[in-house]
Amino acid sequence: MDLVTFGVQLLNAIQYGMVLFLVASGLTLVFGILGVINLAHGAFYMFGAYLAYWIAAYTGSFWIAMVAGVAIAFVVGLVLENVFIRRLYGRDHLVQVLLSFGLILVIDEAREILFGKDVHSVAPPAWLSGSIQLTDNLSYPVYRLAICGFCLIVAALIFFVITRTKIGMIVRAGAENREMTRVLGIKFDVVNRYVFAVGIALAALGGIVIAPISTVFPGMGDGMLILSFVVVVLGGIGSVAGAAVGALLIGLTDTFGKVFFPSVSSILIYVLMAAVLLWRPNGILGRREV
């Protein structure tokens, strides 16, 4: 493999890792801070992609689709938290799995009623639809590069909110010790609601941003859900920085695995996960006790 090809594959790996991070960050927030296992995360990712397709088809604008899609997902998240999720804090994980699995079924049916089950595609914004010539016969879509930049901005925003703002302080305190935070008179429950809604909005945002390079199809959330969990477990549950590291590791492993060890590429990321968990049972940047 010459240097240029290596560079291109590295770019592929990083770009794939960025996408994984964007989707997994919402999961790690909800999982780590609220302690809720949300199996429906992949379903919201799929729903976001369908929203992008539907709104973009109506309005002709990808940007409107993005803003409206995220807003809709955020509101849905608030309602769901209020009606269902808040009853589950501190309950057995099995109950949470059951509820969020039910949500998958409901979202799938809703998708079928609203959008049908056809495969769709979404056009990227016109000024991002070009491509850059990399080698004599290979070019790289500008939109994929734009996703990298966008994911970096989102990551920076999440870091900023969590480490530099009062809301972030409450969130961290709540994740550390829920009861104590409540006893101190901090309205942790209200913050919870927003954390959950942000998690759902991030899943949908992932689906929307990825829609133009992926395809919008009914089962698209299933594979992404599993990958997101691998990212979260690998990076350390609840750690946004860990999710970033985990996502990049998986992007690298998957891309170079496909190139160098094609016959076993499908299990390599799980081998990686097992190895990391043997070395650090709480994930790369996970706290010792969760």
Binding site: A13, D118, V119, S121, P141, I213, P218, G219, M220
Partner: protein, 399 residues
């Protein structure tokens, strides 16, 4: 765990639907003379899930043929019983047993998914139930697992891509890289293409695979750019086909390395693939603009009945009914004369919308395979890639 929960919910629904059918059915079932009772056709198709649209079109095609014959085949009334197979192999044996056992279906039509179809074949072999496969292409169904009572009105995976090997060799293409999902259908289609291509002097540079049903192709597209083959041959279907075709175009590879594929790469996916699919050549046993009287008449009738544009799946359902008709007509509607009926079906010559259709000893179709090119959002006919393609039926013991 997750899939099992879905199954039980859906199974409950289909069970309820089945019970409802039974409650209505007694009026039809009561006549004492079996021969006057309607022939019960069990449709085991995907009515929900990824392949729901395919199941619907096969169902519509089958019913269209029966309606055109006044609701009778060989003079015998036809009654239907439906089961949703959901494309779930793990539920296939139970569903098939229910159709054959409790519902007492005389004939079973099914299905789309190869894994489900093979489970059905096993039950059909054990219970000697007459079965017609209206889509699933697994070579084994009319290979090692062939049986007198099992027919196929669609294709074998081998059949659809084998002719493409010669097409590419004839076009002067020497080096080809292949890409597909790592599962049976992918392997069978790629191997059949490679078999014919290398026989005609071609060289397979590299066989690339992606785990099924993964859709992250970027690493392999970069690999293609490095290998610089003369062409790429691929098989994907549904959402994977859309994404692969779009990614291939976005990587700019289409300009220097033409993309060829199995027909399913561009079938039912063109609206989502858009311009990215333009110029892609594929082989299949059908083309959207096939200008023969049977096809023109079929497309019109299908449109009148369902207001949808008919496709290959509808044709396969339609032909499954035509094949059953050939058998029923030979025995005057008495399906108890089984050997005679099966012999007539095996010898059937059907004027199908896809062109002339007959059957080999393993009961797989002998049919033309067409070379098509994507133009104007359709798979338009270029030429007949190979006439009367007959699957070798490797491993089939039927003489």
């Amino acid at each position: 765990m997750s899939s099992r929960l879905i199954v039980s919910r859906r199974t409950l629904l289909t069970g309820a639907a089945g019970a409802a059918t039974l409650a209505v059915a007694p009026a039809l079932r009561s006549p004492a003379i079996a021969q006057n009772a309607p022939l019960k056709v069990g449709l085991m198709l995907p009515y929900t899930g990824t392949y729901a649209k395919l199941g619907k079109f096969i169902d519509d095609g089958f019913r269209l043929y029966v309606e055109q014959k006044g609701g009778k085949l060989g003079g015998r009334e036809i009654a239907f019983v439906q089961v949703d197979d959901e494309s779930k192999p793990e539920a296939a044996t139970d569903n098939m047993n229910r159709l054959v056992g409790r519902e007492k279906a005389d004939v079973v039509i099914g299905t789309v998914h190869s894994g489900v179809a093979m489970a059905m074949v096993k039950v059909a072999r054990d219970t000697k139930t007459l079965m017609i496969i209206p889509n699933a292409g697994a070579n084994d169904a009319t290979g090692p697992a062939c049986a007198p009572n099992i027919f196929r009105s669609s294709f074998s995976n081998w059949q659809t891509t084998f002719p493409m090997g010669k097409v590419l060799a004839d076009a002067g293409i020497k080096n080809v890289a292949t890409i597909t999902w790592r599962y049976t259908a992918g392997a069978e289609m790629i191997d059949a293409f490679a078999e014919n291509f290398t026989k005609h002097g071609g060289n397979i540079v590299e066989k690339m695979t992606v785990p099924f049903p993964e859709v992250e192709f970027q690493a392999l597209l970069t690999r293609v750019a490095t290998l610089k083959p003369d062409a790429v041959f691929s098989f994907f279907a549904g959402g994977g086909a859309v994404k692969f075709v779009k990614d291939y175009a976005a990587a700019g590879l289409g300009k220097t390395i033409p993309l060829y594929g199995a027909g399913f790469l561009t079938d039912g996916t063109l609206p989502a693939q858009g311009d990215a699919a333009n110029g892609i050549r594929t082989t299949l046993h059908y083309a959207d603009d096939l200008d023969i009287p049977a096809n023109v008449a079929f497309l019109k009738a299908f449109k009148d009945k369902t207001s949808n544009v008919g496709d290959i799946y509808a044709v396969q359902g339609y032909d499954a009914a035509a094949l059953l008709d050939a058998g029923m007509t030979a025995v005057g509607g008495d399906d108890k004369q089984r050997d005679k009926m099966i012999a007539a079906m095996g010898a059937a010559k059907i004027d199908s919308p896809r062109g002339p259709l007959s059957f080999n000893k393993a009961h797989n179709p002998i049919q033309n395979i067409y070379l098509r090119e994507v133009r104007n959002g359709r798979n338009e006919l270029i030429s007949i890639a190979q006439k009367d393609v007959d699957d070798p039926a490797r491993g089939c013991k039927l003489a």
